[in-house]
């Protein structure tokens, strides 16, 4: 199976069906609001309070509903489609598609690296974009990686974190997965930074955009099937496991960006 990680596996593609996601989110929020409490009461016991603060999940009842909704969609739609896709499409083609999606995301990585004040990282993202879009045939081959420029993650949520903006409570959003107030605001900024949203909307481009996004999502789902199965098998409360891992990882990612003080000259020059 292709290697999959939160940081390296599948880049955010903010261009995808933003309106649909927003509508689904709002509908889900409203539906949930109508049938139960949205927040967890703050415990008084000091030990329980410590756990509550560590989880940072004030809206847990609502978040769990969103999580369950996501899992249902996955189980009945994405898993079977992903299985069929794996059966029908050979692995090198799937890998090439994954590379293309990652390359298409590089402009966001570039702009956010600039926002974080990390010129070396921005330079790496720029090289990746230009090399892969040309020598890499529109991103289908990760030539930049072969040249010593592997992909790195960055997004506006992480930039805000490096600026000292607190994460705010944890959120689990339909269609987006684990997030926080800060990271979901960052997602909105990412959408604005993606150049794909500024090109003229001809019929051909629209067709490409939808085909690309749908293929990207199916590819992502297919690559994650083993992961989902493992989550369900090994965790007693997968929701809590993902919550903890996500929050820790975002902290570590922001810290890594803060501590990246490499010179702007490439390694071979030094």
């Amino acid at each position: 199976m292709r290697a999959v990680t939160l940081t390296k596996f599948f880049p955010v593609r903010p261009g995808f069906a933003r309106g649909a996601v927003r509508t689904a989110t709002m509908a889900a929020v409203l539906a949930s609001a109508a049938c139960g409490p949205l927040t967890t009461p703050k415990p008084t016991d000091p030990d329980a309070l410590a756990d509550y603060r560590e989880a940072n999940d004030k809206y847990e009842p609502l978040n769990r509903k969103m999580y369950n909704l996501n899992m249902k969609v996955y189980k009945y739609a994405f898993r079977p489609v992903g299985k069929a896709y794996i059966w029908a499409v050979p692995s090198p083609v799937r890998d090439a598609l994954g590379d293309m999606v990652q390359t298409m995301n590089e402009p966001i990585v570039f702009f956010t690296d600039v926002g974080a004040g990390r010129p070396r990282r921005a330079g790496d993202a720029f090289v990746r974009w230009t090399v892969n879009m040309t020598a890499g045939v529109g991103g289908l081959i990760d030539v930049a990686k072969m040249l010593g420029y592997p992909h790195h993650d960055d997004d506006a949520g992480l930039v805000l974190a490096t600026w000292g903006v607190p994460s705010g409570p944890y959120l689990f959003l339909p269609g987006m997965g684990p997030s926080s107030f800060r990271d979901s605001a960052g997602y909105g900024i990412d959408v604005g930074l993606s150049p794909w949203n500024y090109v003229p909307r001809g019929y051909g481009l629209l067709t490409f955009n939808w085909a690309y996004n749908i293929a990207g999502i199916i590819n992502g789902a297919a690559n994650s099937i083993d992961a989902f199965d493992q989550v369900q098998r090994d965790a007693l409360d997968p929701y809590a496991f993902i919550r903890s891992a996500y929050q820790q990882q975002r902290r570590a990612q922001a810290e890594a960006i803060k501590n990246d003080h490499r010179a702007t000259t490439p390694d071979w020059y030094n």
């Binding site: 269609g175 007693l236 903890s244």
Partner: protein
């Protein structure tokens, strides 16, 4: 459902994979006398070498599991990790519940490691980086390389509190395994009336699935 959702779960798979590798790395240093005198770096290097030998050997899966079990017991401080994972509920658990939990936790750990050892990590190599001290423990950085996969950065926490160097935590992609596991258990207990017995029951079910 967008890509970020899949990424999050993909991360979890990675985290679980790293757990396995951490366990594997932790399982190889069982050389009497070596642990007491060697540094954390040597300890990790030594057990890592042994583990890679087991993973890449031609033994059957069951033979590998059998070889792994004593190594885990000797080189991972499973009791200490188990107590940490039970968090605040350790205080409220009865002595009997504590004993039952730890016994099950040992099995969970062994299953988690051995279950994925075959196949997933064939051809694995590793390199050890810097070691730093933190609160009396040693943190050893490492990079795990698997064929066809991007290199994974991990950090092992080695404690000598039990008398000899033992692994007490593993961080993969910035997430601490024991902290994440504690979140899982604490949440499960909280969702089930705050009863430790509910967790024990769930772990029994989980372990029996693997036997």
């Amino acid at each position: 459902m967008g890509s970020t959702f899949f990424r999050s779960v993909a991360f979890r798979r990675r985290a679980l994979g790293l757990v396995v590798i951490g366990g594997l790395l932790a399982g190889g240093g069982a050389v009497p006398g070596h642990a007491a005198s060697g540094s954390a770096h040597d300890f990790v290097q030594h057990f890592g070498d042994q583990l890679v030998a087991i993973i890449n050997s031609k033994q059957s899966s069951s033979a590998k599991k059998a070889a792994l079990e004593p190594l885990i017991q000797q080189n991972i401080d499973v009791d200490s990790i188990g107590r940490y994972c039970l968090g605040r509920y350790w205080k409220v658990a009865t002595p009997d519940e504590r004993a039952q939990f730890l016994q099950l936790f040992h099995k969970v750990m062994i299953n988690a490691v051995s279950e994925r050892m075959v196949g997933d990590y064939q051809g694995v190599t590793f390199t050890i980086g810097n070691t730093i001290s933190q609160d009396g423990d040693e943190l050893v950085d490492g990079v795990i390389n698997r064929p066809g996969n991007p290199p994974a950065n991990v950090q092992l926490e080695i404690s000598t509190q039990s008398g000899s160097p033992k692994v007490v935590d593993l961080k993969g992609e910035g997430a601490s395994l024991r902290l994440t596991q504690r979140g899982d258990y604490a949440s499960y207990i909280a969702q089930n009336g705050g009863q430790v017995s509910a967790l024990i029951k769930a772990l029994q079910k989980q372990v029996s699935r693997n036997d």
